[in-house]
């Protein structure tokens, strides 16, 4: 979707008809709207959202949501049916051009402002065609699940990088990249109205034995659905508990009494996590060594016995053999000895040579003993190496366990110290924290139990499917019902497999995308990554020196982010997703071409908390998104943002909002230095209204 034009008529503080054309030029894809605080930036963002989604689209921070029509105009109106607020948006999507118009009359606003009139028209080859079910069509073009990623208040966007919002991120990724479609298809195929119905049809026509199995399978399916619901609730509870715990930790950190200890505790907890991770890796490595190489340690007796045999053969002169059996056999075959005597059958000469065959070795025997000797040597060497590696790895494991013990003791000590503080607030916070930790542990244990049960039930369901298919039906109707049921089950299973592969293929692509952009904006030292379950994490590498040597080891840590870093992370994530959605059809995955489109990024005050990251965001976001619309105050624009945007020559259109009203926001300027000459943006007036002015470049 590319936005082309927006016309506002009496929408909120925009009195009369006001219009803005958005830049649609690829190399100059930024439309900049300068507006001081209180002049109408948020109202303009909301005009777009109201246009697309109506009342439900309005942002949470918009006050008096029921008052859509310009207040002065509404107050002066004598005809409630002919006074209205209207938003018209021209946009293109996948090479089709649309015109959307949403209107609310004063009469309707008084009755119920949520009910609006919406029309959507599609222009094709100069012909205009009304679109049926306009709202549904808009939701198809741009679902609400992704709209909050495309139209947002920059200062409020940082919440996306918080742990508790990972579900939203997962949802947006799945929706924007087409995975949601597969998930829904699987759910629908397996639902009661499809699979359940086919099962009932089969049950009615099948044998008693088969009917009983179908009944059991329905019960197992119910159990699976129930477990999935429990899993979902459990996950939500885990996320909520983590968020609550985060808040308690933050409060303790802010408290003067507990600040020092809490900061230390957070450090220790990070160390504990890293040590636990390392312990897991080392234990795994240890297991691997034992599984693959430890046989050498238990082969001491065998090696000793082997050596004795080889030494005995050597001492008896049997190896290496002085005369080879093959040579003697040749003499016997030719019936002539080396001394030219005839070796006639039954002669004493022939018998003497035949007797020698008993003692002589052959080349194969020589080789076998040689190989045995060599193998014995290698086993001995291997045993030594394995013993050494095991000792070292075990020492490393013991060291980690010791370090963990020290960390845990200090953590317990901190808990006692904070809990024992005289300050009542600190004491209560510590109690709450402990209770939350307990709850967190219980929830994690419950999660493991649910997953285990789910695994068992899913296995049983698959077994039953096979058992049901294996019972042959005698009647044609039953056979047909079975074929249909099998087809639906097979399709659902195949789609599950496709979803699995698709997810696995897309994650590294998105990860690479995010990682690259994050590095450009934030700089070196940190990187962003999406976990297996699509959680957005910012990582850094920690180098730790070993005690007795200069060698250092490194491991990766998840970083606790500042508000500014969270804002950048969220922006980078959105831009990466928009960039990927733009070239989604080029990514060679199975469901290629199913979805993917261009989406704009409309940002209200995106530079607020960014501090040193402002130039990076101003430079890179317009490179990633096909269209960027920025509402910005002079305080956020002047300096690095202005320089970067001017330098990149990305600005295609520039506007400023003039505000007419009795008062002006304390930080707002009356005059802006944004063009060649200063422009006046505030006019004192009894009635409040805002106008859009284009800035000549």
């Amino acid at each position: 979707m590319i936005l082309e034009k927006l016309v506002l008529e009496n929408f909120r503080q925009f009195r009369g008809r006001q219009e803005i054309l958005f830049s649609t030029i690829k190399d100059r894809n930024v439309t900049l709207v300068h507006a001081e605080n209180g002049f109408g930036k948020t109202a303009m963002l909301n005009a777009l959202l109201w246009g697309f989604y109506g009342h439900e689209g309005l942002t949470e921070d918009l006050p008096k949501k029921e008052n859509i029509i310009h207040e002065g105009t509404a107050a002066r109106s004598r005809h409630a049916t002919s006074t209205s607020a209207k938003v018209t948006i021209w946009f293109s999507h996948d090479h089709e051009r649309y015109r959307l118009e949403r209107e609310l009359t004063l009469e309707q606003q008084k009755l119920d402002a949520k009910k609006t009139d919406l029309t959507l028209e599609l222009s094709m080859d100069g012909m205009v065609q009304p679109v049926q079910f306009a709202q549904k069509k808009i939701l198809t073009l741009m679902p609400t699940g992704i709209s909050e990623f495309l139209f947002f208040n920059g200062e409020g966007i940082e919440h996306l990088a918080r742990e508790e919002n990972s579900a939203k991120i997962t949802e947006a990724i799945r929706q924007m990249l087409g995975l949601k479609l597969l998930e829904t298809a699987i759910e629908d195929l397996r639902c009661h109205s499809v699979l359940g119905k086919l099962r009932t049809e089969l049950k009615e026509r099948a044998s008693l034995e088969k009917a009983a199995k179908i009944d059991e399978q329905s019960l197992v399916d119910e159990d699976i659905a129930d477990l999935n619901k429990r899993k979902e609730t459990n996950q939500k509870n885990i996320v909520a508990t983590d968020a609550e715990l985060g808040m308690v930790n933050a409060k303790l950190e802010l408290n003067r009494e507990a600040h020092h200890l809490q900061t230390r505790r957070e450090d220790l907890e990070k160390q504990q996590t890293a040590l636990n991770d390392r312990l897991g890796l080392v234990t795994k490595r240890l297991g691997q060594i034992i599984a693959e190489d430890s046989y050498a340690l238990f082969a001491d007796d065998l090696v000793k016995r082997g050596r004795e045999i080889v030494n005995k053969l050597r001492s008896e002169g049997k190896i290496p053999a002085r005369v080879l059996n093959t040579f003697l056999k040749e003499l016997l075959d030719s019936k002539t000895c080396i001394c030219k005597r005839h070796l006639v059958d039954g002669s004493s000469e022939r018998k003497a040579v035949e007797d020698l065959m008993t003692y002589a070795g052959d080349q194969q025997f020589n080789n076998a003993v040689g190989a045995l000797d060599n193998a014995l040597g290698r086993i001995e060497e291997g045993a030594e190496h394995t013993r050494k590696t095991l000792q070292e790895t075990n020492a490393e494991r013991i060291k980690i366990i010791d370090d963990l013990k020290v960390v845990r003791e200090e953590l317990a000590d901190i808990h006692q110290k904070i809990g024992g503080k005289a300050d009542e607030e600190v004491h209560k916070l510590e109690e709450t924290r402990e209770a939350l930790l307990l709850k967190q542990r219980e929830l994690v244990a419950e999660k493991a139990r649910i997953e285990l049960k789910l695994e068992e039930k899913t296995k049983r369901r698959d077994e039953l499917t096979k058992e049901i298919q294996d019972i042959t039906d005698s009647e044609a109707d039953a056979q047909k019902a079975q074929r249909r049921l099998t087809a639906v089950e097979d399709s659902a299973r195949l789609l599950e497999r496709i979803l699995e592969i698709e997810t696995a293929e897309l994650r590294p692509v998105l990860n690479k995308e995010i990682g690259e952009h994050f590095r450009k904006i934030i700089g070196v030292g940190y990187w962003a990554e999406l976990s297996d379950d699509f959680k957005l994490k910012i990582m850094k590498r920690l180098e730790v020196s070993e005690d007795e040597s200069d060698a250092s080891k490194s491991f990766d840590l998840e970083v606790a982010l500042s508000q500014g870093q969270r804002q950048v992370t969220s922006l980078v994530f959105i831009a990466s997703m928009v960039a990927l959605a733009r070239r989604r059809s080029e990514i060679p995955t199975i469901v290629k071409g199913l979805t993917g489109s261009e989406y704009p990024m409309v940002m209200d005050s995106p530079f607020g908390q960014l501090s040193q990251f402002r130039p990076g965001v101003a430079r890179w976001i317009p490179e990633l998104a096909p269209q960027v619309i920025i509402f910005v105050s002079s305080a956020q624009f002047e300096g690095s943002v202005a320089n970067e945007l001017k330098r990149s020559r990305r600005i295609g259109k520039r506007y400023f909002l003039t505000y007419h009203g009795p008062h002006i926001h304390a930080e707002a300027k009356r005059e802006l230095q944004i063009g060649k000459d200063p422009v006046t943006v505030y006019f004192e007036n009894k009635e409040e209204f805002t106008e859009i002015q284009e800035l000549e470049s």
């Binding site: 198809t140 479609l181 298809a185 249909r484 195949l494």
Partner: protein, 43 residues
Amino acid sequence: MKAPEHIRELIKAVLQEERQVMHMRTRPDIHKNILQHVKRLVP
């Protein structure tokens, strides 16, 4: 991944059906339509 022809056809039909309604909050006919596709493609 080589699935039988009727399974591939069924998946294609279901995905097309889903794509048309993928962002709607209520999808009253989707299950009925999927069943019809099953009956059409698996006679």
